[in-house]
Amino acid sequence: MNTDRLIDALSANLERVSHGRLEKTLILAMVTGGAAAFALMLATVGPRPDLQSTAHLEWSAIKLLYALSVIGAGVPFLIRSMRPGLENGTHWPVILFPLVATIVVAFVMLVLGRPQTWREMLFGASTFSPARCLLCITFFSAIPLAVLIWALRKGAPIRLRICGAIAGIVAGGLGAAAYGLACMSDTIPFIAIWYGAAIAICAVVGAQVGPSLLRW
């Protein structure tokens, strides 16, 4: 087809473009993905039985805060990565700040704590806690990641691998938020290591699928 004819065809019946559509799509995707992760948590492991008692409420709040800060740090860059020309503004220190800061706090707590408590601090309430945590968070993050990728495809991501990795981190954050209500291990080092590792797995998965799924 002749290029001039193509231009004519493209500019014929031109529709008005609504602004802010991308942001709305992404937020919708996050709400849907988060709800799906939460529903999946309720359907499988279920919330921790002592969730009603106030003693453990603060720990659920801390886990939720951790997950929300991971999401909050990633989302602005996810929105930027959908718009060509802004993709170079990705600041990894900002995105990784919640994860790294928690590791630093965990390290300080380990140093200050007694060595006898290290085992419980690092590996949680029972021997299966780390494995359960890793499995559940990555499992709960699968639907959020899929929905996020669907939303990102509405945009025009340029650096597909990086965009996929950030989507993985945000999806991991959503999965961590859901699992936080089911998790019985109430220590900062546990959260720093195992939640962080699960989110890192999601980021790697996102970076792997990004180039093929986000292509346009």
Partner: protein
């Protein structure tokens, strides 16, 4: 672009036309460097125009336009490279010769050379050579197109070729 996003078809048409000029130069240049033809460049150009159209909502009005279009153009070029590299890989080895034989680097290079040489001779001679020698029109057809007599076309072609030959000699001697 702003007007185009608001649905102003005339402004949008003008924008696409101007973009086409820039993008064509950009891709021709890139494609010549990697040894791919101008036809492929035109295909990719059309693909980019469609991409610009279908992704126009990703342009943020508060941001400058050039980085946006440049990011898309570069993305599509890299995507093209990736795509063609994969198709090279997927091809069985027995057919590899077809691919290498298909290289039109020589055609492009000589085309560029000719254009450069032609730009150095007079407009009248250039037109005459273009019609008669390159496009294969008859002398009378070329005469009606140029609006001059048949003998004038013949003279123009003759003089133009002489001037071209002189240019070639000068360049190969230098």
């Amino acid at each position: 672009m702003t007007a185009g996003l608001d649905g102003d078809a005339i402004a949008y048409h003008r924008l696409l036309e101007r973009l086409t000029g820039h993008l064509r130069a950009y891709y021709r240049n890139r494609f010549a460097r990697i040894g791919h033809g101008a036809a492929q460049a035109e295909d990719l150009l059309q693909e980019v125009l469609i991409a610009v159209h279908t992704h126009r909502h990703t342009y943020d009005l508060s941001q400058p336009f050039t980085p946006w279009i440049h990011a898309i153009a570069r993305y599509k070029f890299l995507d093209y490279l990736r795509r063609t590299k994969y198709s090279f890989k997927d091809m069985p080895i027995e057919r590899a010769e077809e691919l290498t034989a298909d290289s039109d680097m020589a055609a492009i290079e000589s085309g560029l050379d000719l254009h450069r040489l032609m730009s150095q001779i007079s407009l009248k001679a250039r037109k005459a050579i273009q019609y008669v020698k390159l496009e294969g029109l008859s002398v009378s057809e070329a005469a009606t197109r140029c609006g001059i007599s048949e003998s004038a076309v013949k003279v123009a072609v003759h003089r133009g070729l002489k001037a071209l030959a002189l240019q070639v000699r000068k360049e190969s001697g230098a």
